[in-house]
Symmetry: C2
Subunit: 322 residues, 2 copies
């Protein structure tokens, strides 16, 4: 099963015009504009990118549907404009967006795309995990991908087209291994240390310093002043630094998150039997997202891989370049 094949088939019919590819995350959304001809064949490394545009969050669960659509519309318009093209040149749109969890999410986005593009344009709407997996496997949809950025999701595909996912349900529904989850646990630890329910932690001083607040009580107002998940998740580097400096509370938060992230991959691999009947078959494990990339001292990605390898020794970690 090839992720690129669908797009390529559409492009092959019409060798002029452009294709828009969007990777929509909870913090950052990237749109690339490619010549339609390039997608019809050839190696994915050699696809010429005509233009690239970057915008903020396009996850409707985080910022609401209107803001998410505005971001997607704006980032596509900007990429087209940079490429010197307009909507009439578009042959296909490939949207891989976080927050696409249910057929109704996909249908809503498809209906909206049909409103803004000419009727002959082909649309492909998927969860961003699908694009993330393809980015690490040269387009082949086989194996498991773990995204841990502002949000987190594990998504897996078998060669015969079955798929499964775990986590990716957002902060209310327990994505504790995500950047948001890690940072929310750190903020909670500061509140608990302050009111006497939890042990003291260096996170208190470092987080208050970073946010220029004078007391943990002010964290409550800060937290609810803006519901954006990305704003909370931006505190992850402070948690990692505190853990590296030996803070026990920060270390415990990161260790719990490693376990959560590994559990989501293990659940997917088990449901799809990606590891074969004996549990030892090799499968690609693509790992992407800020939580897995940004740290060198406290190596979250390395520890997640270790946890998974203990259960499935055939897991073959792949870290695609950005």
């Amino acid at each position: 099963m090839q992720y690129r094949n669908g797009v390529a088939a559409a492009a092959a019919e019409e060798e002029t015009g452009v294709i828009l590819g969007v990777d929509g995350g909870t913090t950052t959304t990237v749109c690339v504009c490619l010549p339609a001809a390039s997608a019809a064949g050839g190696s994915p490394e050699k696809v010429p990118v005509l233009a690239r545009a970057v915008a903020g969050c396009s996850n409707h669960n985080s910022v609401g549907e209107i803001a998410a659509r505005e971001t997607l519309e704006q980032v596509m318009a900007e990429a087209l404009s940079k490429a010197g093209a307009d909507h009439s040149a578009v042959r296909a749109v490939c949207l891989a967006v976080s927050g696409v969890n249910h057929p109704t999410d996909k249908q809503r986005i498809l209906n909206w795309l049909r409103d803004i593009f000419p009727s002959h344009v082909k649309f492909y709407v998927e969860n961003d995990a699908v694009a993330a997996l393809a980015s690490g496997t040269m387009g082949k949809l086989h194996g498991c991908v773990l995204i841990a950025g502002t949000g987190t999701i594990a998504y897996g595909f078998t060669e015969d087209g079955r798929e499964a996912r775990a986590a990716g349900a957002g902060p209310v529904l327990g994505d504790w291994g995500s950047g948001y989850g890690i940072a929310a646990q750190a903020l909670t630890a500061v509140i608990r240390a302050h009111d006497g329910r939890g042990p003291p932690t260096n996170l208190s001083e470092s987080i208050l310093d970073k946010l220029k607040l004078s007391s943990p009580d002010e964290l409550i107002g800060w937290t609810y002043a803006d519901p954006s998940w990305a704003r909370i998740a931006a505190l992850v580097p402070i948690v990692v630094s505190s853990a590296e400096e030996g803070d026990e509370v920060a270390n415990k938060i990161l260790s719990n998150s490693v376990e959560e992230l590994a559990d989501s991959v293990i659940a997917v691999v088990r449901r799809l039997s990606l590891c074969g009947k004996e549990g030892k078959d090799s499968f690609p494990l693509v790992m992407v997202g800020g939580v897995l990339e940004s740290n060198k001292g406290w190596d979250i990605a390395g520890k997640v891989t270790n946890c998974i390898s203990k259960v499935f020794p055939g897991a073959h970690p792949i870290r695609p370049e950005n």
Copy 2:
């Protein structure tokens, strides 16, 4: 230290007109209109209530500042109207509202009250926990109060005027013992059972039935469609029923919540030494809110009291009538 004394002193100066008393929660806000003369003395049981009005959430952290103000303004206007009075008859306004966590919260509400009432009106703005404690101690601010409704907070006062609080920081900041916290854990358990990260639970069927959804995947859209905390917390009775029927996951969620609620009281009592030097002095422990009231089989309040009494045998539980 008497909560009623401040209001009474204001009223004593002017024996005509009315006083508004508002208890503002995250699910329900109640306003009573009393004759100013009545507050100047006499027993609190005998205060004649001229009118009573009920509205929704007035916690600005849950629904935002504009909606919270509208609720407060509307509930006060309705109580006045039912009492056949208008703004010019008001002598004092006593607002006890959840979400008042910091002096800036209080100041913001005071500024707004000054805009809508005549300049001679006296204002008293507190966290709703202050009114809840007073409701159980005949107005005396001494002891500890635990509120566990949609949100949760523990608030304590010493006879010499010191005060301390624990929890009350909302769902992002770990109020796991609250109605919202219990229900969010239950929703998370359904997602985890569905994607293979957690054990199966009867909560899946009972919650999907209640919400008329056909698959746990639809819970994600349902959860983020409306950010109101009260809507999530309304699922608590289902968690309690499942626990009563023996569901292990539901039992674990409630047991964790009992521990969280007890921990918040223990932290406050310890910081204020409400239990005396030997740890055995008696103190009032007022317990209010839907989570502590609604269940008979799985007795959350009883179990919280047991946890606290093991540490502080002098805790004297009081359950005020509604």
